[in-house]
């Protein structure tokens, strides 16, 4: 197997949350490597630390000790501004609850990351439409989120995650709010995107969804208990 560059490299990662006087130790010395172009799912019961891990990878939260390299860049002492810029440049997010802005239509939602990347209005609307077409809901470009089905909303969110050409797509329970048929079509879409070379990390607690990826990492009590190819 050819060696691809490392996209994510985590060594001895610790994270705890203060809980009153005590603190809750969530991640306890975690080691993980994900190469460019991988399609990985992270599984675990609630409280296993899988969401915390995704948030740290996604630069939405910070780690306490250990090292984290994203695209060979060491992530430490990031200020909010730098974190925001890195998120905009390297990461695309897909959430369980879609997290679309409810007063913006599909096209405007998709175009938003490009606004923060500093692209002109005309260009980003063009790009947004292109990606809506790619996820198959170009006709819904001018609809508000509350006029769309769950599957359609998640497609908008996927288009939004892709539009800024990130290095990694982070999906937190992307099918959690969808029926099984819609879930399959969303996973098929992610597979398609992966085939084009995108690194994808999916968090899920559904075996069936996890099996649609190439590699399953299982977490328990803040450490990796298994890491296997599908």
């Amino acid at each position: 197997m050819e060696t691809k560059p490392k996209m994510i490299e985590i060594k001895d990662l610790h994270k705890s949350y203060p809980m009153g006087k005590d603190s809750l130790h969530v991640l306890k010395g975690l080691n993980l490597e994900i190469k460019e172009g991988e399609f990985v799912s992270i599984m675990g019961a609630s409280g296993s630390g899988k969401s915390t891990l995704l948030n740290i990878i996604g630069l939405l939260d910070t780690h306490d000790t250990g090292t984290y390299r994203l695209n060979d860049e060491l992530i430490e002492n990031l200020n909010e501004k730098k974190a925001a810029q890195l998120r905009n440049k390297f990461l695309g997010f897909i959430f369980q609850s879609f997290n679309l802005i409810n007063y913006k239509n599909a096209q405007e939602n998709v175009a938003l990351p490009l606004y923060y990347a500093g692209m002109s209005r005309k260009d980003r609307n063009e790009q947004a439409l292109k990606y809506l077409d790619k996820v198959g809901i170009k006709d819904w470009a001018h609809h508000l989120p509350n006029e769309m089905s769950g599957g359609q909303k998640q497609r908008v969110a996927i288009a939004r995650a892709l539009v800024s050409h990130p290095k990694v797509i982070l999906a937190d329970e992307p099918t959690g709010a969808l029926d099984s048929e819609t879930s399959h079509s969303v996973m098929d879409l992610l597979r398609e995107i992966n085939k084009e070379g995108m690194t994808i990390i999916v968090i899920t607690h559904e075996e069936e969804i996890a099996k649609a990826s190439d590699r399953i990492i299982r977490l328990k009590d803040g450490i990796i208990v298994s890491d296997e190819k599908v």
Binding site: L60, E80, K81, F93, L100, Y103, L112, Y116, R121
Partner: protein, 409 residues
């Protein structure tokens, strides 16, 4: 601030959340409305005071004589003092160009007749300078002149209302009227901003009056205006000097408050000025208080708005919005809403002042309005208030961790 795209983002947020925007703006609009009304009414009061004093020149000093109240230099107390023609010469020699205009006055109250119409009128016998002392406005003909004084002419300059009373709708000019049995030729008709009483006045030459009324060289009163280049303190001091010099000339005790009396408009002006300052200060304090209440109101609502939008702001952060972008957006939105709402308040306020203007004159409020400088000042104040009102919520918005924001409901 001039990023067109950010404006677009803000317009979108505002136009799609109309109720929220209206509620936010209302406090400021109301505060500015009250602010405008207060300033307008304050100005109206000021206008009323200015009008009250428009009758006489505001640099006038009036000099009267009465009985002394202290014995001095061998004279008994209670001696009657008379001002005379030579007192005018004395003042000119003594004070020179400190005096701008000067005229004596002799008063009388006599029956005036033209054909079948007659009325009782105040008569003032004066010199030509008096026109400027009293702000008399000549409507037709002319005022008393130097030639009238020299010839002791029997001429009269009558008020607009005297003409109306005696001549109805005809012109009085060059007609002869009878004052106390003697015929005078009307050489001029005047108006006066001092009111109806002033416009029922008749002016005749002082020399004529001194002869006819048997007053010889006496006068009832001397009016002067001081050189307007003097400041208030100099003018007040000048008034006191005039009084002291006349007391000395008439052998009156310098400490005697009677004998020679003066009334200096500079002192009245100073008092009115202090009172206007007081009124303005009160208006300013209440106005600013209202405005501060408005700013606090907006700030509170914006804090709430930010809380309500926490999730949206979290999404924006996840998609790459920097804290500066978030702060900028919130502050700019607040400034925009404050400025827009404030301006509507201002316009409604100006409209209300215009509308109320004719109805409030009896309450000592004349032409209530706000000046251009107040409007500009208010605009600047609004932008600044927007900045202040937006600061706290923006700071809050920027400090939200994206992950907490995303998890909020």
């Amino acid at each position: 601030m001039f990023d067109l795209d950010r404006w677009h983002e803000i317009f979108e947020a505002i136009s799609k959340n109309k109720l929220r925007t209206v509620l936010t703006g209302f406090t400021v609009a109301f505060a500015i409305l009250l602010f405008t009304l207060l300033f307008g009414v304050g100005n109206g009061l000021q206008n009323t005071f200015k009008k009250q004093f428009a009758d006489d020149a505001n640099n006038a000093i009036f000099i009267y004589a009465d009985k002394t109240s202290k014995a001095y230099k061998g004279y008994q107390a209670g001696r009657e003092i008379k001002l005379k023609n030579d007192d005018l010469k004395f003042l000119v020699n003594k004070f020179g160009d400190k005096i701008q205009f000067m005229s004596p006055r002799i008063y009388n109250f006599l029956k005036t007749t033209y054909q079948n119409e007659s009325s009782m009128n105040d008569i003032r016998a004066v010199k030509p300078d008096h026109q400027f002392l009293e702000n008399t406005i000549i409507e037709s003909g002319r005022y008393i002149n130097q030639l009238d004084l020299e010839r002791r002419s029997k001429v009269a300059v009558i008020g607009r209302l005297v003409e109306k009373d005696l001549f109805k709708n005809r012109s009085a000019l060059n007609k002869n009227i009878v004052i106390d049995g003697l015929s005078y030729k009307v050489v001029g008709v005047f108006s006066d901003e001092g009111g109806d009483r002033e416009e029922r006045m008749i002016y005749i030459p002082i020399t004529t009056a001194q002869g006819i009324f048997g007053r010889n060289d006496e006068v009832d009163q001397i009016n002067i205006t001081f050189n307007p280049e003097m400041n208030t303190e100099e003018a007040i001091a000048f008034g006191k000097d005039v009084q002291q010099e006349l007391r000395k000339k008439h052998d009156i005790d310098p400490r005697d408050d009677n004998g020679i009396r003066t009334q200096n408009m500079a002192e009245a002006n100073q008092q009115v000025g202090q009172m206007m300052f007081g009124i303005n200060l009160v208006v300013l304090i209440i106005g600013l208080g209202t405005l501060i209440a408005g700013i606090v109101g907006v700030s509170n609502i914006m804090v709430y708005v930010v809380k309500e939008r926490t999730k949206e702001l979290g999404i924006r952060k996840a998609l790459g919005a920097t804290p500066a972008a978030i702060v900028g957006m919130i502050i700019q939105e607040t400034i925009f809403i404050t400025a827009l709402a404030g301006y509507s308040g201002l316009i409604v306020g100006i409209g209300l002042l215009k509308w109320m203007s004719p109805h409030v004159e009896e309450y000592f409020i004349t032409n209530p309005s706000v000046s251009k400088s107040v409007v500009i000042g208010a605009t600047v104040l609004l932008v600044v208030s927007g900045l202040i009102a937006g600061y706290l919520p923006a700071k809050r918005a920027a400090s939200i961790k994206p992950i907490e924001a995303l998890n909020s409901r």
